[in-house]
Symmetry: D2
Subunit: 314 residues, 4 copies
């Protein structure tokens, strides 16, 4: 059975693991990320991989990192966190390990793991949506990961849901990420606290009494207690997400939508308004199979599992 090593390169940690064809992690290793030095990063990745390869018979290595990667999965065209824009990462690591190496966007890698071994298991057309500080995702079509012509595909957090709405770091206004992320949930709470402080009293209280410290977590905690203001924050978040997911399904027609990321810990508090809005907005809903929306939490290791598995794909 072919084993593969996955490496998840973050801003502060680099984690690696041996992954089998079922997505099981057989062993892991971890180091601090020497973020400021390109050579050191390569060396650290290679050390981790070689260390694991000494114990297991692995055929390939997948490196997942933030940024846009080339379509031949060799080069980091634009690296978001680390100083390696333009680096031929796959070649560099291959030279240091003697293995087949590919580099993939980390969100794509984690999404791939969810699609293959998590909530999308068994499906060939999957939409994975990561709800955290932002809204990211991965699109799997006919069993293949969609990367886009320039590696920019699946930026699903940046479809428009509110014309001329909240400003976004991407330069637009009204992006799904500004209304559907954990950050957005916190902003929903902040707005209520700013303009309707009595109504939002419980959210403020759970934020240590400081309106400026309101986060999605505080809103979720209040929502768990049944606080109406917090539930309104979720209703608005769900309304935006449902609309966005419906738009995505008009284009992609997946078998299943897998939600993942920190916000999904809210469970049905999140799912209920998302599903209601999705059902309301899905085009031709009466004529098509139902598209289930499920939560999957493969956890912290999804990134390296996905990277490892993608290295096995042609």
């Amino acid at each position: 059975m072919a084993l593969s090593i996955g490496v998840d390169v973050g801003g502060t940690k680099i984690a690696a693991g041996v992954v089998d064809e079922e997505g099981n992690v057989l062993a892991t290793a971890r180091r601090d990320s020497p973020a400021t030095n390109r050579e050191s990063i390569f060396a650290t990745i290679a050390d981790l991989a070689n260390e694991l390869a000494a114990q297991y018979d692995v055929e390939s290595i997948g490196v997942g990192a933030a940024g846009f990667t080339s379509s031949d999965r060799n080069t980091m065209v634009y690296g978001t966190n680390l100083d390696w824009t333009g680096a031929r990462i796959a070649d560099e690591i291959a030279a240091r390990t003697g293995k087949k190496v590919v580099v993939e966007n980390d969100a794509n890698a984690a999404g791939w793991a969810e699609a293959r071994f998590g909530g999308g298991k068994g499906a060939r057309n999957v939409l994975v949506v990561t709800l955290g500080t932002g809204v990211g995702g991965a699109v799997i079509i006919d069993g293949h990961l969609v990367r886009g012509a320039a590696g920019f595909a699946a930026e699903i957090g940046h479809i428009n849901v509110v014309p001329d709405g909240r400003p976004c770091g991407c330069g637009q206004r009204g992006c799904l990420e500004r209304y559907g992320s954990g950050t957005a949930l916190g902003v929903n709470g902040w707005e209520l606290a700013k303009f309707q402080p009595d109504y939002a009293a419980r959210i403020i209280e759970l934020s240590g009494g400081d309106q400026n410290k309101i986060s999605g977590k505080a809103v979720t905690a209040a929502a768990r207690e049944g606080d109406p203001a917090a539930l309104e924050c979720y209703a608005r978040l769900g309304s935006a997400l449902g609309l966005g997911l419906a738009d995505l399904c008009a284009v992609l027609d997946p078998e299943v939508i897998v939600l993942t990321g920190g916000l999904t810990e809210a469970g049905d508090i999140l799912l209920d308004p998302v599903r209601a809005s999705f059902a309301e907005h899905l085009t031709a809903r009466a004529h098509r199979p139902e598209i289930p929306i499920v939560i999957s939490t493969s956890g912290q290791e999804a990134g390296l599992i996905g990277a490892a598995d993608l290295a096995r794909q042609d």
Copy 2:
């Protein structure tokens, strides 16, 4: 060189043609469509195919028709125009011709022809947008046509661009098709004529003086003369289309967007406002390669060319 037959099954006509690997049509044949009788349709398609196959050495047959087709390309799951919902069309035609046969959605087939031999030639990631009475399209990713889990993919006319906007036949409100199609262009003109008749005088005049006969064609004719009301109609259409295309690129990241369909005859009158709005709304525009928007008019035969070529694909 492998030849293939493409069949374009319409509501009134059935057209067939022999297509080579470059997308050239070597011969054609055409019959009236016996729309009300399933057996007659099969017989007619087979007759046309056998007639052409007698003259050329063809290996496969692709049938394009309106409706949702199964993922194995055999069955018409839901036929929009003809009485053949549930029919195993590929099997039926194969039994009558002895060839490999596939059935494809007609918009997908025409879009595939545009992507392979028209404006998307040479690109592996292409978004084809058909602007006619509706807004349809085809999505090509990594050289493969995207059909979706249930054959419903690429319904790009039904992403939302105006919250709670014009009602749509799909059951939603504010779909791109209601703001970006030739029909929408006519409605834009009708609205101006209804509420600002002096301003819309030239559009009304070019509609034979009858406000109720205003169509996209009349608006285009007035726009060609530089009529401000007609140009406003195009500005609004372009604004909606540009927003919709930007959303699609956030998800799909194509190399090129190919516009086709009757509305594209307007040329730059259409392209200019679409490109302006697209540039305004594209996420992370400064960091990504330019995505050109081009017009391609492979013409009436795109449907059969695409069906023939798709029959050659696995």
Copy 3:
């Protein structure tokens, strides 16, 4: 008891009546409107007034007509229908009758009658809203008619309710008139018929089978039968009107809102969605007295009753 003559100058008819202080019409007279000749209009108005004055002891004459009138109630600053822009109408009629004469905007005059003798009777702060082909109105504050600095006040049909919405004859987009009038109701029906013909089948049927003949009346007829598409048309109309009325109440704080005009014949079909939307949108609703919304139909003579009564006011 002081009697006064009211004259309602329309595009095709001129109607006059003797009106007492309770708003009762004691006698009427009527002529065709010699619309194209300014002198003839003055002569016709004076003839009608003198004919009635010969039978009743009247002190004053009020002339109501479409257009913007000067604040001294003498001049037609801008006449919408007739060729008398700039005419000193009050002076002209006074010279021909020997009575005190004032000229008033016809919608204001009719609204005044509704406020004084109709649904606003007994109230000193009244908002009258006329729902017909357009949306007009009259504002009464502390017992006085609000005319505005230039006679343009109470153009309540032209507050914005839908950003960048339907085009309006006033040069804007999204005016209340475009979403809340009888015409708008017909457009709501037309849109459904255009894009969801099956759903709108009963509306089309009641329009003689011709989508282009759909009017507010046909929608109302279908709504009376409980037709879901027609009720949706009313729901959208009511939603817009309720929002607009809530905005007006934030500014004017009336005791009562009086709806009048042809559309009010729909009764509760109209009132129910208007009241629901109004309650949903009214600012500080929990802290203020309820503002009732009532229908009043003083009928065709409201214009001349109001003009007569306004002539009695200083």
Copy 4:
């Protein structure tokens, strides 16, 4: 010449002044506000008034305070800040001073001063808009202050400008106050800082480096330097205000719009985008006299000047 005393009752201070018929303040006195005790407030107001009345020959006293006042100008129906909801304030103060006393809403009083002696001087139809932490105003029609049936008129900060927009303390969403006040300007800056920190760097810097301390003042300071992000904040504020003012003019048709309040210190930085948006949105603009928008800053004493002058009115 009739002198009158105006009293401005705030949450922390009570200020009184003797005001002549030209709006000049001849003398002032000031005390801390004993906010928690109703009797003490009455006594303090009466002390201040009696102290001034001992020096000047005054005929009447006007008390301005936050809250909704009865139409007979005697009772505080609902007091926003102080514990005197339901108090017959005019009677109470009259009993302690022997003068004619009226109570008025403080925003109305300040607006009246602006209309009579400030930017609206000489006009009989004036719209005064106060831009501070909120958006308030006063409406003067035919020389009379509009109070509304229940004292709730001129709540112009609560007309809707953004459907389903930012939440408002009044219970609605999308109120003008949430997009056109100084607070809103700060929120515009906060949103940019939250989602586009690089772009908003200068605004953050001028807020002591703390995003949570961004206020309208910091945005204004940055805008004065020509900072693009700050000017975008003003552009959005001006767009909302211009739309709101246009709606108000459709209803009220004033001769002049007077802007006042702390935000007007920005001068043309504020006026330019407001005027542009107003011109863009005003109904029938081509057919009506221009309505100038001016800034007036009668300053801190506008409240007591207006209260004093209103006491002189019947």
